[in-house]
Symmetry: C2
Subunit: 116 residues, 2 copies
DNA sequence: TATCGTGCGTTCAATAGATGAACACATCAG
DNA sequence: CTGATGTGTTCATCTATTGAACGCACGATA
């Protein structure tokens, strides 16, 4: 599943470091190689990303992932979408936390366990 | 999967309304009936919840889900755990939102599109 | 040339999780 | 007795994810 979260994160990673490998992306995002490959392909399919081969300095062949012009637009809009999602989550979290505090048994009491 | 989220939410629902049905829980939590059944069984298995039959006023048979003494303890501790999780998420969200704002193309500009 | 070792993207069988239609059962209404 | 209704329970099916295994392209070495 290619969600806005991974659209955003992958486009960001790739923009910052076009020579990144799928394995590095996977590790960075904490997802499997298979899923990374799937998401990357979807982004390429959509035309927001392009993969080119190139010769890595003197050693090996490597891939460059480049954002297309459409990709740059897409990144901007997905960032905005994702930000709005996060801000909504942020508000929800506030009320959930209030709720949870109310659900706790009396915690005024002593100030023991200054645990952190 | 029985996570703290559902431990907390189910114990809360059941405590507030012991006569609630599995279908109502499912609807309330936005999960499937099968998953609800699975979670409920796990809680009963663990001994934090107990299911009793009883005759519903004059109409039908129904179930009552009651928190055991251990269940009351468990609810308190899971609430605390869940709260801590949420507070950590809250902090993370703050930085993520900052990050996202930085990633946005210049948005000072005009105040066009007063969309909401 | 021939054979390794390395790192790349790609594949896909296997697993995990979640779903919801279908079932057995118990009660009430007629 | 029969049908309608509302329980909890089951489980085949689906979806999403995983990661070992693969083919390929180099550079290095014999």
């Amino acid at each position: 599943m290619l969600t806005d979260e991974y659209r955003y994160k992958i486009l960001k990673l790739v923009e910052e470091n076009p020579e990144i490998s799928q394995r590095e992306i996977a590790k960075e995002l904490g997802i499997s190689l298979g899923k990374t490959n799937f998401c990357l392909k979807a982004l390429i399919e959509k035309g927001v990303l392009k993969a080119n081969n190139f010769r890595n300095s003197k050693n090996k062949l490597a891939y460059i992932y480049k954002l297309t012009p459409q990709g740059i637009e897409e990144k901007a809009s997905v960032t905005m979408r994702f930000l709005k999602q996060k801000m909504k989550q942020y508000e929800q979290l506030q009320s959930e936390i209030e709720q949870l505090k109310n659900d706790l048994p009396i915690l005024e009491k002593t100030n023991s366990n200054a645990d952190e």
